[in-house]
Amino acid sequence: MKWKLLAAALVVVLAIVLLAGCGGNADKAKATPGKEQGSQAVPKITLNVATAGDTNMADLQKEAVAPGFKVKYPDVEVNVIGTGPGDAGSNAILTKLKAQKDAGRDKWDIDVAVVHQSVMESLIKEGLIDKYVSLTENGKYVVSFDSKNSLGTNVEGYVIPMFHSQTAIAYNPDLVPNPPATFDELVSWIKANPNKFGYNGVKGGMSGVAFVTGYIYWKTGKYDNYAVTGPYDKAREADWPAIIKELKSLPVTMTQGNNGTLDMLNRGEIAMGPVWVDMFILWKNEGRMDPKMRLKLIQPGLPGQPMYLVVPARAANKEMAIKYIDYLASPEIQAKVIVERNGWYPGIDANKVLPLVSQKAKDQLFKDIAPDELNKYGLTFPLAPYLKDIQTAYEEN
């Protein structure tokens, strides 16, 4: 009996210690947000940068932007929070800001947010972000179409695009000496070369979604309504089922996600497929992609997307937030971080950025897709409800 009691007591003590240990750790983690290097002085300002997207997006802020910014402003500690991949990550930021607004807080705990296009309409409608662009030095270089219009919402003055990423058709020149220049030619090529074109459907990556979207743009010719002017109207989707059925009847290889397409292309299992240009360049830079592979942006075009830098309406450190964005939107950082490090197209006027970019990075980015081609055939994704419907239609037909 006694030893049983003793054992029981021991287990209780152990459990309490364990729980206390967990609690203690949590407290410790809370007490030192964003602590990276042992800084001696207590920083006066902690700038909270929340970014949607995969871990690479948080790494970008932590490793490539924050250190340089800290050199300029030594008393600022940059705390980066990743909110998760895809539109869900942007939604998390929207939800958090809205909750703080509804709670009547006068200081919100996000100073800079990096978000996708899909949440812009709600952010502006709810009055959650500021018109700050006119207060920046580099605002004058913000010229792109997507800095004014985000899936049909007027966003002028609210956003500086951090970068623009684009989808294109990657191909293996050994197997495809004359790559198709249009969707028409591509479809003929697919029929003539069964299973040599690969894409990932609509699951596991946006490169497949972009291809399906481009296909629908081409077949319907309704790009303006779907993506630029709106308004959303379900009646304009009447011909989609037939189009999707036709697309699905093509003899293609289905890959597993963005990476799957790149992998199979690299191994020569497929000869062509839609990819994100930045991923394609990154893989080449890391030696994971055969350097001979090329890109083609086919007509009438494929979608790409920016991510936007925005400032919440009641950011606790608004002034510093604007300085941070200004730093990130400067031609030097755009050249070094956005173009050279990540293989994206610059978010600000390319003419201001390109003179500062190394020849090698320029070749990577513009050898296959010239800037004017990008302007002509680089489309945007459709309004958010259309985009959802495209994915649903693809699943259901």
């Binding site: 009996m1 049983k4 009691l5 029981a8 007591a9 287990v11 209780v12 459990a15 309490i16 729980l19 991949p85 895809g86 539109d87 869900a88 939604n91 990932n200 459907g201 609509v202 699951k203 596991g204 497949g208 979604v209 290889t253 289905m254 890959t255 597993q256 996600g257 990476n259 799957g260 992998d263 199979m264 191994r267 020569g268 299992e269 959802k388 994915q391 649903t392 699943e395 259901e396």
Partner: protein, 282 residues
Amino acid sequence: MAVKGISHPDRVERWAGVAVSAPALALVIALFCIPFLNSFFISFRREAQWTLGNYATVGRLYLGDILFTAGVSLIALVATLLVAVAIGGYLRLRPNRVVEFLFKIPLFIPFVVVGHAMRVFLAPHGLLNSALAQVGLVNLAAPPSIAFSWLGIVVALTWKNMAMALLLVLGAFRGVREEYLESARNVGAAEWRLVKDVLLPMAAGSVAVAAVLIFSSMLASFSIPLMIGSGKGAQMLMIDIYYRIIYQQDYGVANALGVISYLGATGAAIYYLRTVRSGERS
């Protein structure tokens, strides 16, 4: 075990028992019961209304995927158990540390690494086919694609779970006393008969536990099906849940799929409790 008129020390002991199990119970309630109930309720909500719509969507779009997930998990489970029982039996009868260690390696390899390794190994132009092509067994112009079909998922899941199964099965086999094996040997049983007719029946309970654990983890596999398998046709359920959340922001259908996965895993557990446990008691 509660009896009327218990003496004082017994009462103390009962309270001690409650005290000991309280932290564990609290953890289970906080980390499993509450999230499960939450998930269960959300699966019946759509646009702030109570509805069966989420399950209707599941029925319309994902019925095939549910069957596919159960099927792939079952086939992988059978393959895993066959390997584990065979190797476990061999190691019980002829202990061999090197072989045992080799089979435990998958325990320490993360799912993502397994997924990527299998993708590279089993791809149409992957290591396996390239090696077989060297000896003229495979034509690389039209290679078989194990990685990008359901078979790829089965192979990867089997390889990854084999070590866990072996650990449990071998432990149970080692619990079988040598005398039984000796008597069987005395009447002339061959080694495979020892495994089939002595070790396996006596360790049935442990094998069933291993089966339930592994089946549940296979139902819940995400990173492996994300990297291998075919983008065409049926998908594993966790891929669908991820897609519903990330691409459609549709938590209703995602939770409905989650509840169905829970039920699948619970079903396996209940089946185990009713058959194996009752068998042990009789």
